[in-house]
């Protein structure tokens, strides 16, 4: 039987691709016999869900915005009208 360490590597890998049949069976058997590894699997699945959630939360959270400095800097770089370029605050 594979060890817990090997099983934990396979659990991580299974988040990235479908495991080949042999590895999948080895992992499944290990999970049936082991008390601790199912906990790790649960942790891996939780981590995946939390990461998705984290991304969405921040992308939609308008309290995160460009600093005034960065905004002014970019604004002056983007101003295409040469007249405005000399007077960025007009």
């Amino acid at each position: 039987m594979i060890t817990c360490e090997e099983a934990s590597r396979l659990m991580s890998e299974s988040l990235d691709r479908k495991l080949p049949l042999g590895k999948r069976i080895a992992l499944r058997i290990h999970l049936l016999m082991c008390k601790l590894c199912p906990r790790f699997l649960q942790q891996m699945l939780f981590l995946k869900e939390a990461s998705d959630h984290y991304k969405e939360e921040i992308e939609e959270d308008s309290s995160y915005s460009l600093s005034t400095n960065a905004r002014e800097r970019i604004k002056s770089l983007l101003t295409t009208d040469p007249e405005k370029k000399d007077h960025p605050h007009d």
Binding site: F40, Q42, Q43, E57, D61, S62, S65, L77
Partner: protein, 193 residues
């Protein structure tokens, strides 16, 4: 091409979204602002190439994605290649010599939603992420936040699949351990100080 191709409006309409997109992935305000600036400059230079099939926002995000990967590549060049697998202390310390758990993983029984709704949880999550070696956090970010497939990451970052798998595994093991100790165990033992 109309009003939307007017660079003067890009910053106002899309600046903050691009910033937040970059912030998730780069995890640092200054770096996020830098890549957003680079994105706008590249967009200005390449605006003739905009075909109008996608929205301006999608087009800008497409440019930003490249800038983010460039940033990670630059980071990775600062790490000597020989140290990629051995530089940080091995997180596999959680296993004994026979490959059995030395540090038992905790039970995270409850519904994830119970945690994900709590502000405190996100603070700890962010701290755990910030505690990863930069290399591991960058790869984790490409996989879990940017959502790239492992083959894509290997191509972009010039890594073997084995190497990437090991690094994603280490990142996850550390994050799980960090959340276990700092969130789940602490929660069982009572409220945060």
């Amino acid at each position: 091409m109309g009003q939307t191709m007017n660079p003067d409006t890009w910053l106002k309409e899309h600046g903050d979204y691009l910033f937040r997109y970059a912030l998730v992935r780069l995890r640092d305000r200054t770096n996020a602002e830098d890549v957003v600036q680079e994105t706008f400059l590249a967009a200005l230079k390449g605006k003739e190439q905009f075909r109008g099939q996608a929205s301006v926002k999608t087009w800008l995000v497409g440019i930003l994605k490249h800038k983010i990967i460039d940033h990670f590549r630059k980071n990775s060049r600062e790490v000597p290649v020989t140290n990629l697998l051995s530089a940080d202390e091995s997180p596999e310390d959680v296993f004994d010599a026979n490959g059995k758990w030395k540090e038992e993983p905790g039970v995270w029984r409850e519904d994830p939603a119970d945690h994900l709704e709590k502000k405190e949880f996100w603070k700890i999550f962010r701290e755990c992420l910030a505690g990863l070696p930069r290399r591991l956090a960058d790869l984790f970010s490409l996989r879990e936040f940017e959502g790239l497939k492992t083959e894509e990451i290997c191509n972009q970052m010039d890594l073997s699949t084995t190497n990437l798998n090991v690094q994603l595994y280490r990142a996850r093991l550390r994050l799980a351990r960090c959340l276990d100790v700092n969130w789940f165990e602490r929660k069982e033992k009572g409220p945060l100080k």
